[in-house]
């Protein structure tokens, strides 16, 4: 089961060998932008989740941070 990990501190999964990694915004708001209008936040969230889904159809060799 391919797994896409969204992390606020990508250096941790990179260092322990997680294959598919996507960076989130911040520890306190991984997939959000508090302070932005809700619509914009949702758009940002969708963009990150889409990147995460893209990793699932991509072959990787070793821990990989997708931007």
């Amino acid at each position: 089961m391919p797994t896409a990990m969204i992390s606020a501190l990508p250096q941790i999964p990179l260092s322990v060998g997680v294959p598919r990694i996507v960076r989130g915004r911040a520890i306190v708001a991984l997939l959000g932008e508090p302070g932005r209008p809700r619509g914009e936040e949702r758009q940002y969230r969708r963009a990150v989740v889409e990147t995460a889904l893209r990793t699932l159809t991509t072959a990787v060799e070793g821990p990989t941070l997708f931007e």
Binding site: P2, A4, S15, G17, P19, L31, P34, L53
Partner: protein, 350 residues
């Protein structure tokens, strides 16, 4: 022994007495003399060392301003010219440990100063920092402070005075993976056979090449497309149904759970809360979609980008969790997800 070693000490907002999560964004402060655990460090070192300057930065601030922050710390220390930098001890706080590693790496490289730190061996700061900091292994929490400080003080005095650290076993720090060439009295074949004979006879034996603790995770093959795939949502962000019915712990969780999200178009604040003890859950509580993105996954499901969002949330708290337990949770969750027909996973980790 000559004049006392001059020690610079880096620590976070909590140990400097500024508060916990509420002071996590405190910007860098440079204070003269010893602060908090620095006083214990001085006491442990006796007349051999003085903490001449303490650098305090909030865990969140330094994480978000890594380059600017470490630059400011390097500049401050270039002016102060200490004999050694001590960072932490960070115990099992991952964000603090990573910051200690980051600061230690910069100072060791740019100023060529020895750096001594203290961390619980599973702290991610160890992997990030052990090449350039001498990291004394500590217990998990501040209850282990006296022993940590004693080990760090002794090592700081030694390397601050210009001496070499000595071997990890002897000097009490975590191995750095550095290989020193030595000449053995017997060749490799003889030593290998002796090791094998001891092992077969059940006698104690020790490998000459310890393998790294984290085994490589083989990557699952990619899927051709997601249009028919059932996607499972897993989080270590500690998002649970309001009221935390199964009492999942906010730290060192002993359980993971699966909760139904059937029919939900989003993760509402009315239904979910964040019980993760490692960060301020204010934003996650306001809008749990920020940790469990049910809203956008539903949009993507409706649009056919994914076959389906499996109507379950798999959740636990990933805060200072022991590694062997985390490994077991992973195996159990994988089996459970598989049985639920999950073909691919989105894992959100704060």
């Amino acid at each position: 022994m000559g004049a006392p070693i001059r020690v610079a000490h880096f620590m976070n907002q909590f140990f400097a007495g500024l508060g916990g999560q509420e002071a996590v964004n405190a910007p860098l402060e440079v204070r003269p003399g010893a602060v908090g655990p620095g006083k214990a460090l001085e006491a442990a070192a006796g007349s051999h060392a003085r903490v001449t300057v303490t650098l305090v930065a909030g865990d969140g601030w330094l994480n978000d301003h890594a380059d600017e922050g470490t630059e400011a710390i390097v500049s401050a220390l270039a002016a102060q010219r200490p004999d050694v930098l001590v960072t932490g001890p960070a115990f099992d706080s991952g964000v603090y440990g990573l910051n200690c590693a980051r600061v230690g790496n910069a100072v060791a490289t740019r100023l060529k100063l020895p750096v001594v730190s203290g961390m619980f061996p599973e702290n991610p700061g160890v992997a990030a920092g052990r090449q350039r900091s001498l990291i004394v292994p500590t217990g998990r929490s501040a209850g282990a402070m006296p022993k940590a400080i004693a080990g760090m003080a002794a090592l700081a005095v030694r390397v601050g005075g210009g001496d070499r650290p000595g071997s990890p076993e002897e000097a009490g720090y975590l191995p750095r993976g550095i290989r020193l060439n030595t000449v053995a009295s017997r060749n490799g074949a003889e030593r290998a056979v002796e090791m094998l004979v001891a092992r077969l006879a059940g006698r104690p034996w020790a490998t000459e090449i310890p393998l790294p603790a984290f085994e490589a995770v083989p990557s699952a093959a990619p899927l051709a497309s997601l249009g028919t795939v059932r996607v499972g949502l897993l989080t270590t962000g500690g998002i649970v149904p309001r009221g935390n019915p199964d009492r999942i712990e906010s730290r060192r969780a002993t359980q993971w759970r699966r909760y139904p999200i059937e029919g939900l178009e989003e993760a509402s604040a009315a239904r979910f809360e964040c019980i993760h003890g490692g960060f301020d859950g204010q934003y996650a509580n306001e809008d749990p979609n920020r940790v469990i993105p049910i809203d956008v996954l539903r949009d993507l499901e409706r649009e056919g980008a994914i076959g389906a969002l499996v109507p379950s949330l798999w959740t636990t708290t990933g805060n200072a969790g022991p590694l062997d337990r985390a490994r077991r949770f992973g195996e159990e969750i994988a089996r459970d997800m598989s049985a639920a027909g999950v073909g691919a996973v989105v894992l959100t980790a704060t």
